[in-house]
């Protein structure tokens, strides 16, 4: 841990992108669960995610990064699904 005289005045963070060092997934009470067969890869989940917890590859949804997903549920709320079936639903942690 840094000593007081090693800190930047104003608590300004000068190292860009260091949020990756802080794994915040343990805050989660509900986890998003992805069902691939209901997914149309619209990427609404990816664009709405307030963190960067939706993983994609070649423009397609591939799953969640649970190290950072705090379980807010926005992805599940926005997911249009396929034929009335959601591709993302929230399930309680530990169940």
């Amino acid at each position: 841990m840094k000593k007081w005289n090693e800190l930047v005045p104003g608590a300004i963070i000068l190292d860009a992108g260091n949020a990756v060092q802080f794994k915040t997934g343990s805050w989660r009470a509900f986890r998003p669960q992805w069902t691939e067969e209901n997914c149309i890869h619209c990427l609404f989940c990816w664009i709405y995610c307030p963190d960067m917890a939706v993983k994609t590859e070649d423009g397609k949804m591939t799953g969640f990064d649970y190290d950072y997903c705090k379980g807010c549920g926005i992805c599940a709320r926005e997911c249009p699904g396929k034929k009335g079936k959601k591709a993302i639903v929230m399930v309680e942690e530990g169940k």
Partner: protein, 392 residues
Amino acid sequence: MPKPVAVTGNEAVANALRQVNPDVCAAYPITPQTDMMQRFASFVSNGQVDTEIILVESEHSAMSACIGAAAAGGRVITATSSQGLALMWEMLFIAAGDSLPIIMPVVNRALSAPLNIHGDHSDAMGARDSGWIQLWSENAQEAYDNTIQAFRIGEHPEIRLPVMINMDGFIISHSIETMEYLEDEVVKSFVGEYQDAYPLLDLKKPKSYGPLILPDLYHEYKRLQHEIMGRVKNVVLNVAEEFEKISGRKYGLFETYRLEDAEVALVILGSAAGTAKDVVDAVRDKGIKAGLLKPRLFRPFPYEEVAQALEHLKAVCVMDRADSFGGYGPVFLEVSSALYQNGKGPALINKIYGLGGRDFLPEHAEAVFNELNEIASGGSIKTIKEYIGVRQ
């Protein structure tokens, strides 16, 4: 050579801000500050400054906009009074905690309730612990000079803190006084171009302001803030020395008046110090060895220097134009602490005067000097804290 002009304190400070030509100003009108920002807004409209003026819906928003603009890298100003300063409350601490050198004239006014628009120091004294540097002014000339120096103090690379320039509502802000402006070019070169150390708008070096800091580091950040405040005194003195070269006017951490050979003295802030100096002369003619100390830098408070300036006296009255209900007046608390740590010093009393714009009259000061003279001659202190000029 600068020519003497007859102007109000608001006009003087608005002109100081015009000469500095800041990048951004976000302000909301409140008596008695309104006329200062109105004048500044006309400088913007007339193209006399390049400042981006942001009209906001409250002082909370004004300070929030200033914080954003300062973090972006701009030289930023605002101004307020009383309830406006109170509404800025949480943002004041953020401006200081984020290390943003925002410059803010505060035209001191009483706080509600009861509602009152006139001058006293309750507003700024309440903001004492917000982490802002506080300079206090006796008249329009000092308010103007302090405003110009505030940019150099707050923006100093070793400081980078916001500064309040205090001036008494109406008494300084609206009274017409004789003073001198510096030439525009002289002010411009004195304050120089502002280079922010960590501008958000420097996109090649991305950074974050305002992070969440938990118990593992918060204590350390506050220790650092304490350290930086400790550097302010020297910077204030160095800037004052440079300012004397361009203006011929001398400033320090405080001003003393006939204090060296005095036995009794007043410690008094702001415009009332002018009245009190006249009374020092008058009671000296009657044989009382009177003097005066007028604080200029109130935050950080120069404890050692004030104690050294007062230690030889027999009795001192600290005059407060604000009350801390259930406590002593705010200036008294500081002077009392300074003298206790000094180990020796005069008998000390505290008078609360001039609240809500009540006039501070020469006879008030004279009565205090008579009381101090009695204490100095072996009399006892009857009441430590007392209201004066009050009907009873």
